[in-house]
């Protein structure tokens, strides 16, 4: 059905292949399966965050607070782990998800009940959540030595050749795919992005749907919080600061329309992987690290221009010969 969207995803896929081929021509090691799997593993967190952000952007909202939510959830579980090493890690994961979802619900409630534009709400909670990380931790870091081996080790456990982190990423992606294509909530998320007025007439509660989108984004942020602190074995106030822009960038490159209603799970996955590949490739091909930022900026602009070209309405095409052409 979505011929056009599929087309866009293929384009993105080709772009990723191109980067891989170019880099591999100079550094054969780069394209080895091991390294590719490492890149995928590295990108898993960005991938799930971008999926959460997609759910929010589809509803014509935006969540600028995801990175702060991640930092707060991550800090809280890390502190819990440091203080009570005997608490089992799965319980900590559940705790991270619940905290994240709770913070997301806070955003969602403000958007739903107080009707504050999402960008304002999350601009506010962006600083509030991060401030709370400082308040909770007193500014202190939780470092590797304070974390229990299980806490650090869980996502590194290799199953069938892939680390747990990758498996979690795959699981989240599959859940998102089902959510977005097969559940009434997922379809409602699309519907209110495409046409909010029509959604009201259709019996969709626009506010509540947005609320759930924020809860989903929050839950993902919470999960990512746990994964982040145990991956980089540090929890601090500055964790993932400024990362919200990378999350949005992954969505945009993946073809999510900032105006809502357009975007797919595979597209966003590819968008995140594209960023992951580029970030990994630059240092390898010996491009000065100082070029990284400009290159990712240019990639974002290029993606927007290409997406806009695809999305542009071709007009009505009244003339018969034009329609035939």
């Amino acid at each position: 059905m979505n011929r056009l969207l599929k087309h866009r995803e293929i384009l993105l896929f080709l772009a990723i292949l191109l980067v891989l081929v170019l880099v591999t021509m100079r550094f054969p090691r780069f394209a080895q399966p091991g390294n590719l799997l490492t890149i995928f593993n590295d990108t898993s967190i960005l991938m799930m965050l971008a999926l959460g952000q997609m759910a929010v952007i589809l509803t014509r909202s935006i969540d600028l607070s995801m990175a702060s939510n991640l930092a707060l959830s991550g800090m809280l579980v890390a502190m819990t782990n440091a203080a009570f090493p005997m608490v089992p890690v799965p319980l900590l994961i559940a705790m991270a998800v619940v905290i994240g979802a709770g913070l997301g619900a806070f955003n969602g409630i403000l958007v739903w009940k107080l009707d504050i534009p999402p960008i304002v709400v999350t601009l506010g909670t962006l600083t509030i959540f991060r401030g709370l990380v400082f308040v909770a931790s007193g500014g202190a870091w939780v470092n590797a030595a304070q974390m229990s081996p299980e806490f650090i080790g869980l996502q590194r456990t290799v199953i069938l050749g892939l680390p747990m982190l990758s498996w979690i990423g795959i699981l989240v992606a599959v859940l998102f795919f089902i959510l977005m294509t097969r559940t009434p909530l997922g379809r409602a998320i699309y519907a209110i992005g495409v046409n909010p007025t029509a959604s009201v007439y259709t019996g969709i509660n626009v506010g509540r749907t947005k609320f759930f989108a924020f809860v989903i984004a929050g839950a993902v942020s919470g999960l990512a919080g746990f994964l982040w602190v145990s991956r980089y074995v540090i929890a601090s106030v500055e964790v993932a600061s400024g990362y919200e822009m990378s999350i949005i960038a992954a969505c945009v490159i993946g073809g999510v329309s900032i105006a809502g209603g357009i975007g797919t799970v595979p597209g966003v996955l590819l968008g995140a992987i594209f960023l992951g590949v580029v970030n990994n490739a630059l240092p390898v091909i010996g491009v000065s690290p100082f070029w990284q930022m400009a290159i990712s900026g240019a990639a974002i602009l290029l993606a927007v221009v290409l997406n806009a070209r695809g999305e542009r309405r071709k007009g009505r095409i009244i003339l018969r010969k034009a329609a035939a052409a």
Partner: protein
């Protein structure tokens, strides 16, 4: 109310290194008596945020500011204004340009640090080999100085060590992790990664641990024992160096107090560092505190309990 108020301004709050320094500063304040210590700093390590902190300290009319600067130049105007308003200013750890402070306390001798970080790697590479440096922000003054010193030391003292790359992890664990990975894929024959930053060295050691490269690539550099102990234990690192941050904070406050008491710093002047001995200032009114100390499997457990 003739208490002496001394502000210890750090690069960013929450950093274990600076928290340890604050401990030493408290110790000095207690020892000197009648000193009120203000431990402060921005949350993000940027010059702009640090300027706001200094502005509010000027407004509070503190007696002295001892700062570890996020930028050697950007803080000069605001610190000059502080000095105009009668506040004594010194920098420690990470320097401010000479016109923005009365003296600077280096944790150690720059050349010595540069040499030490290479030596830490070279000691375990008798045949020589490839090493790479993972630094903090590309703008960090002290790191850059050490790297320059290290580069200068290699040809004479470690001729068979080959420095293949210098990359920057911005004292950010994600960036540091990515850069480490980049180094590993780009330089298959890499033997050691030198990270003269406490954030970078942990990230690098974690990557080596994760990728099962323990024994192939040795991670070394400057690290806080408490944060780094496990990587000495698991073999990802054979040893790291650092000076004692507690001593550094202590010395900074002792010096600040001396300035408030009317000491006149200048090239060639020798000043007391209390229990740490003395420091002699060079032509830019800067001086080293002590030699760097090496931690390895033999002593890390002990020091990890202190800082």
């Amino acid at each position: 109310q003739d208490q002496t108020r001394i502000a210890l301004v750090v690069k960013s709050l929450g950093n274990g290194f600076f928290d340890a320094a604050a401990k030493g500063a408290e110790e000095a304040a207690a020892e000197l008596g009648n000193v009120e210590l203000i431990y402060t700093g921005p949350t993000a390590a940027t010059a702009e945020a640090q300027i706001e902190v200094v502005n509010s300290l000027i407004a509070q009319q503190v007696d002295a500011i001892a700062i570890s600067a996020n930028d050697p130049d950007a803080l000069v105007p605001v610190l000059q204004r502080a000095m105009q308003r009668g506040i004594k200013v010194l920098s420690w750890d990470s320097a401010v340009a000479p016109e923005g402070r009365q003296l600077h306390l280096n944790p150690s001798d720059t050349n010595l640090i540069g040499e030490t970080i290479i030596k830490l790697a070279a000691d375990h590479l008798p045949e020589g080999g490839d090493v790479a440096i993972l630094s903090a922000a590309s703008t960090a003054t002290n790191q850059n100085a050490w790297i320059e010193a290290a580069k200068a030391a290699i040809p004479e003292k470690f001729p068979n060590i080959n420095l293949v790359a210098v990359v920057y992890g911005d004292d950010d664990s994600v960036k540091s992790t990515e850069e480490t990975r980049g180094l590993i894929s780009a330089y298959p024959d890499l033997d050691a990664i030198i990270a003269p930053t406490t954030v970078g060295v942990v990230s690098a050691a974690q990557v080596i641990t994760d990728q099962d490269l323990i024994g192939q690539i040795n991670v070394t550099g400057l690290a806080l024992p408490s944060e780094f102990k496990q990587f000495i234990d698991n073999g990802a690192s054979k040893g790291v160096a650092l000076w004692n941050p507690i001593d550094l904070g202590y010395s900074a406050v002792v010096l600040a107090h001396a300035l408030v008491q009317g000491a006149e710093p200048g090239p060639g002047v020798t000043m007391s560092l209390g229990r740490m001995g003395q420091v002699t200032l060079d032509e830019t009114s800067a001086g080293p505190m002590a030699v760097p100390f090496t931690f390895d499997s033999s002593n890390i457990a002990e020091f990890a309990t202190y800082f």
